[in-house]
């Protein structure tokens, strides 16, 4: 089998063996429906309760504030649509940012088509939301601010505490899409004044198809999916018990190893960035130099297009991404890269590499060597590079 260097941990992660082990008994032994009264279902209820407590503890929340969902996208949809509906009598204005995940942006559009107004805040060239801009955007009828904890493409970590404080001061609800941050960065919902928080298990070495929404006690949100009385009547549908148990285990381990992994990944990532920036000319580092997820590196290589780069890396067994995974196949360049001010042709040439605790220095070295070679090759085929070289030659002649 071909060796694979997996550097796309922002797209999804490998499930830990301990997580799979924790899930297994819930398929063929403790397979009961957690809503049932009999004893046979007790392990399901206990398993779910344990996950709820683990997550609550991780966030400094109460376990009754954790609602299991199918993933980050559902959590985001729920938070926005239910808040809009519950607080429509107070106002119909929502503030979010231009660099949110599509799960937020498209839900925002859905609400706009239904009579809500959504402000999409710009960000600075590092991807940071500016508090001054946020302040300007707040109106008397603003009911919700939704700003992601960390961006999935460029890794920028937003000033969540300041935003939370401002939201609280103004009596506006605050939701954060922490799909990329939860389990990777320390988060405390009280310290940061977070009212709602979305997360997804498969971004922290847990299984796909399970996530949660934290909803602060007292918020009057309707359910998003209607039916049975599960999740204290707020989220209907037979619960994905193995998935929930797996998520609990994944969160437990992620928290225990957070500091160690952050340190390790930051070092390796910085090494990667240093090598690329010094060895590949006409390259830009996207995102914030310091306020960024410890495993995220995002480069823009001028004059080349990202998909070709990805395919060539793939032929070497290297998994990376250009834009976010969900929008692959789309012809638009990443909305995030455009929002931080990149011109189209440069936005098209971006490469995101996201490390895991298993990534080695040797893998990084191999990857950098491949990138150098491939970028050079693609530039030699690029009409944009040809034009650039020719105009530079002209200038040289003129000088």
């Amino acid at each position: 089998m071909k060796r694979v260097i997996y550097l796309d941990n922002a797209a999804t992660t490998k499930v830990r063996p301990e997580v799979v082990e924790a899930m297994l008994p819930f398929y063929t032994e403790n397979y009961g429906n957690p809503s049932s009264v009999y004893d046979f279902s007790a392990p399901c209820k206990e398993g779910m309760a344990h996950t709820r407590e683990t997550i609550a503890k991780a966030l400094g929340a109460d376990s009754s504030e954790i609602y299991f969902t199918n993933g980050g996208t559902e959590s985001d949809n729920w938070a926005l649509t239910a808040t809009a509906e519950a607080y429509a009598s107070k106002g119909r204005h929502i503030i979010t940012t231009q660099i949110e995940h599509h799960a937020i942006l498209h839900t925002g559009q859905y609400l706009e088509a239904r009579g809500f107004e959504v402000t999409y805040l710009p960000v600075d060239e590092t991807g940071l939301v500016e508090i001054a801009e946020l302040k300007k955007a707040i109106r008397p009828d603003t009911i919700l601010i939704s700003v992601m904890f960390a961006n999935n493409e460029i890794g920028t970590i937003e000033p969540i505490r300041e935003i939370g404080e401002l939201a609280k001061e103004r009596g506006i609800l605050f939701h954060t899409d922490a799909v990329q941050a939860f389990g990777h960065e320390p988060i405390n919902v009280d310290e940061y004044h977070i009212d709602m928080l979305s997360a997804s298990a498969h971004k922290l070495n847990g299984p796909k198809g399970v996530g949660f929404l934290y909803i602060r006690k007292g918020l009057k949100l309707r359910s998003f999916i209607h039916g049975g009385a599960q999740e204290r009547k707020r989220r209907a549908g037979t619960e994905n018990v193995p998935g929930i148990v797996g998520m609990g285990k994944a969160v437990e381990i992620a928290l225990a190893k957070m500091e160690e992994n952050k340190k390790k990944e930051t070092e390796l990532r910085d090494y990667l960035i240093r090598r690329i920036m010094s060895e590949v000319p006409y390259t830009r580092l996207n995102g914030h130099p310091a306020k960024r997820l410890s495993n995220n590196a995002n480069f823009a290589f001028q004059f080349i297009e990202g998909e070709s780069l990805l395919i060539m890396l793939d032929m070497e067994g290297i998994c990376g991404s250009s834009g976010s995974a969900c929008t692959s196949g789309s012809l638009d360049p990443s909305h995030v890269l455009l929002a931080i001010g990149l011109p189209h042709e440069i936005a098209h040439g971006s490469l995101r590499l996201t490390l895991s605790e298993e990534t080695t220095k040797e893998e990084i070295d191999f990857t950098v060597d491949c990138i150098k070679r491939i970028v050079e090759r693609l530039r030699s085929m690029s009409p944009l590079y040809e034009d650039f070289v020719k105009s530079r030659e002209k200038k040289d002649i003129r000088l």
Binding site: E307, S308, L331, P343, H344, E345, H348, M381, P383
Partner: protein, 146 residues
């Protein structure tokens, strides 16, 4: 996602490069849609045979592969024959393209036409069926609409 033929033409593109003092050069596409193709033609002025053809492309795998295939298909052909090389012909020769990549084949057709237009302008001739190329090709919408 890509056929073997596409992957082959992407990995080993034929006719990459420039032609100095080309008979015709055409550049189509734009950075916004993410694909730019430039075609160089070396045309025999007597016989109207395309003696050589080279390309440079900024774009995805399909963009590179369609450029490569398009140059292969027009090389050695007369201008009139080259005018018959449609995007469908390019796609067929590549054993098909994913729906979202069909526009690349249109772009390749357009690039050939742009280079031929350039040749026609320089030589003040008219090529049957050839109109002034759009400076860039509009994005063709994705196949399905919900």
């Amino acid at each position: 996602m890509y056929s073997e033929k596409v992957m082959d033409h992407f990995q080993n593109p034929r006719n990459v490069g420039e032609i100095e003092n080309a008979s015709g050069v055409g550049t189509v596409g734009n950075a916004k849609c993410g694909d730019i193709m430039r075609i160089y033609l070396d045309i025999d002025e007597e016989s109207h045979v395309i003696r050589d053809c080279k390309f440079k492309t900024f774009g995805c795998g399909a963009a590179v592969a369609t450029s490569s295939m398009a140059t292969e298909l027009v090389k050695g052909k007369t201008i009139e024959e080259a005018m018959q090389v449609t995007n469908k012909a390019v796609m067929e020769a590549l054993d098909g393209l994913p729906a979202v990549k069909v526009h690349c084949s249109l772009l390749a057709e357009e690039a050939i036409h742009a280079a031929l237009w350039d040749y026609a302008q320089k030589h003040e001739i008219r090529i049957e069926g050839l109109d002034q190329p759009k400076s860039d090709i509009s994005e063709h919408d994705e196949d399905e609409e919900y």
